[in-house]
Homo-oligomer: 242 residues x 2
């Protein structure tokens, strides 16, 4: 198994199970187990809320106890606050995601427990887990529901696998202009601006052109945009001369 298993303990409303499944699938997490769902399983309401996620997942499995649900797993995380006087590592969702990645690469089977909508997990259930996951939120308004908690844990897991590019500028069919073409545009602009008597004080010319050049380097125009801007200048001059 290449992703963690999410386990919902005593979930009450089918809607919450469905919304959680949708959040999981958005993050590529496909294994859902339920402990003792109040309204039974399967659930029409869950299916409706899952936006098709439940149909794409392997069948959800149902257990009577948390112990049964985690029996085949090697490492168990709980999304819960640490009870007083328990000694157990706490990781942010981000740190836990890195930890899960490492363990899954090592062929461990990983489970994440999510507690009851209102009362969370019992101390006995928390004691079964190796690590607690803490999701940083606003200390003045901390009100994550089940599906939101699953989304954030799942998202961090996805991001820990993510090898995409964090920041780039696609240029479609065009391509960032070669520097000689860029420079040609700048020289042409300077020539035309001089002809149009843009530079009233000659000593300021270099400084002003440097500023203009900086503006254009920040934009890093493409070939196509260089052509377009030549057209813009021609049009503007035409207008003025006319």
């Amino acid at each position: 198994m290449t992703t963690p298993i999410f386990i919902l303990v005593d979930p009450q409303m089918g809607e919450n199970i469905g919304a959680t499944a949708r959040a999981m699938m958005n993050c590529g997490i496909t294994h859902l187990r339920l402990v003792n769902p109040r309204d039974g399983w399967p659930s029409e309401k869950a299916h409706a809320m899952s936006s098709g996620a439940l149909d794409m997942m392997p069948p959800v499995t149902v257990f009577e106890t948390v112990k049964d649900a985690i029996a085949d797993c090697h490492t168990v995380y709980s999304t819960a606050a640490l009870p007083r006087d328990m000694v157990k590592p706490i990781m942010t969702a981000r740190a836990a995601a890195m930890d899960m990645q490492t363990r899954i690469k090592n062929n461990e089977k990983i489970a994440v427990l999510f507690g009851r909508e209102r009362s969370g997990l019992s101390n006995e259930e928390i004691a079964l887990s190796h690590t607690l996951i803490s999701i940083p939120t606003n200390p003045d308004f901390s009100s994550l529901n089940l599906a939101q908690a699953a989304l954030l844990v799942g998202y961090e897991y996805l991001m820990a696998r993510y090898e995409g590019i964090a920041n780039y500028t696609p240029t479609g069919k065009s391509f960032p202009a070669a520097q000689k073409d860029f420079d040609e545009l700048m020289v042409r602009l300077e020539t035309d601006l001089t002809a149009q008597k843009f530079f009233r004080v000659d000593e300021m010319k270099d400084q002003m052109m440097q500023n203009i050049r900086n503006l254009f380097t920040r934009a890093q125009p493409t070939d196509q945009e260089i052509k377009t801007f030549h057209g813009v200048i021609s049009a503007l001059i035409g207008k003025k001369i006319k």
Copy 2:
């Protein structure tokens, strides 16, 4: 303003506005603007879905156009896919969060545009923004709703500000044991195990004790746990001897 402003463009259902407000407040983001909400503003359904978030925020402001809504902002991000033939930077939500942090420290006012529930943002609206935000999701099931998208962008913003500890083990009233106390437990265990003839082959003794010591160092017991374990050994010996 120390956080970004979230702007919902033509939001349809009040419930979605409320769920978005709740997601925002979880991340400490308090400024919400609406462009042209279909069912008007204020909205009872939005208030009910916000779990109190809307009551904690400064009043939501309503605008007729995106241009009006962003007029006082310096940098505008759009949560949208890049239209063909537009040249604009794309950042992951995580990279965008770092970028927002930097700009906000520089006193810029930052806006994030979220599009219509079904049809997203128009090309004209996207063209008004400086940067597109891409939220990595499962390529086979990418189905984030408005509030989920707001939660993930907000969460990354919160995490970019987060200075908490990623991974630690609180020990409550107790404290990780001093090495002399730990060593005393190991020596006592070895003595008792020897007396109980645990080490059948004498040459293996050092190796086995090293393995046992490694198990206990991984757990890094507290003072209290060292005491408890002395008690466990005494009890076990008592039982055996009896």
